[in-house]
Symmetry: none
Subunit: 218 residues, 2 copies
């Protein structure tokens, strides 16, 4: 993933400016450093840098530029402690729609919403994202309306994984534990032990991610 010389210059200037001044530069100050008087050129390039994961921008916020440490998606962002993991909240999970899956090319930092977790909750090192549950349809997974489900976009499942699965025939998303039963049958087991499993043909389901934590605030 290569950057143009002007983009590199902008990143470098922002980094130095923050270190010197303690707050980020304005669009016009970045433009001066990159030898352009056009604020739209600066904005255009900053949007590219954001899409590539080098920084985030506050929308219509003065000096709303924040450098990220690396460009990978999604990741720990700017917090002083490695203990904190900021997880983007990409939207809602509802039973009647497939789970929104993060696009590798779109910066999660476009999202306005995120939740800070810690390494005590989340030992995962790979990309993770969160969704907020809408509706009561997940109660068989002991997940309540409003809960935040933390997921990783991994469709390689092993027996016992709690997965978000899209059932094509039923046109429904479900959160259940996944078990192979032979080659032609998958058992989806609710977390609620008083409820029975459902059985589906593998072709009927699409694994959209694994649930790795649930956060409920009251």
């Amino acid at each position: 993933m290569t950057l143009s010389p002007r983009q590199q210059a902008m990143l470098q200037f922002i980094r130095e400016y923050v270190e010197t001044n303690g707050y980020p530069p304005s669009i016009r100050e970045i433009g001066e450093a990159a030898h352009t008087s056009s604020t739209s050129v600066v904005s255009y390039n900053l949007n590219i840098l954001q899409a590539k994961g080098y920084l985030t921008r506050g929308k219509e916020i003065s000096r709303g530029v924040r450098l990220l440490q690396t460009g990978s998606l999604p990741e720990t962002v700017g917090d002083p402690s490695d203990m904190i993991v900021r997880v983007p909240v990409l939207g809602r999970i509802v039973a009647s729609e497939p789970v929104p899956i993060p696009d590798d090319n779109v910066s999660p930092l476009d999202v306005e919403d995120s939740i800070a977790l810690t390494r005590d909750i989340l030992q995962e090192n790979g990309p993770v994202y969160a969704l907020q549950v809408k509706g009561e349809s997940m109660i068989d997974a002991l997940i309540h309306d409003g809960d935040i489900v933390v997921m990783k976009p991994d469709s390689n499942v092993r027996d016992g994984d709690l997965v978000a699965a899209w059932l094509k025939v039923e046109k429904a998303t479900t959160l259940k534990r996944f078990f192979w039963e032979g080659k032609d049958r998958v058992r989806l087991q609710p977390a609620n032990p008083t409820m029975g499993p459902i059985y589906v043909h593998p072709s009927n389901l699409e694994i959209q991610g694994k649930v790795i934590a649930v956060i409920r605030q009251l």
Copy 2:
């Protein structure tokens, strides 16, 4: 050198804002946090904080506030970031025993087990503690074996609070939403909407705390 409560609130807000957003707040945002709509009050107090060495201000620069290392407020116990809240895990919550209630003098450092949460999860400022659920008895509260329940030791309940209640006659702990129904009857409502409530006489129950968050790791 003492600071007024409003000045302390402003410092705290700025610190948290920078850590969350990566750039400083505006005068108006600081004012909102300090409960004043007057930008001149904010500016006046920031000038005092600057004179006292807590921060510097860029002249006529938007978001031109920079906290200085010296003069910052004492940090949260043990962690570098005020964003992190370390919550002691005092033990297990099981249906057949009362909830362990923390000694008021306990410090998070005194307990061997704790979990780090963040202010995104836990806005509470008072004492909190956590318990790990043992067994399936809490599934009517949509809480699974192994979940971590974060509580505050507050027995002053209002309708709708999710409480840990010890039922004396039944000798059982239950987690349910609490509602008064007249003076002589309390309705304890499961979080699972498919399950019915139970009704108890107030003398039969002992409120041992309120649940303020649930953490599930998979």
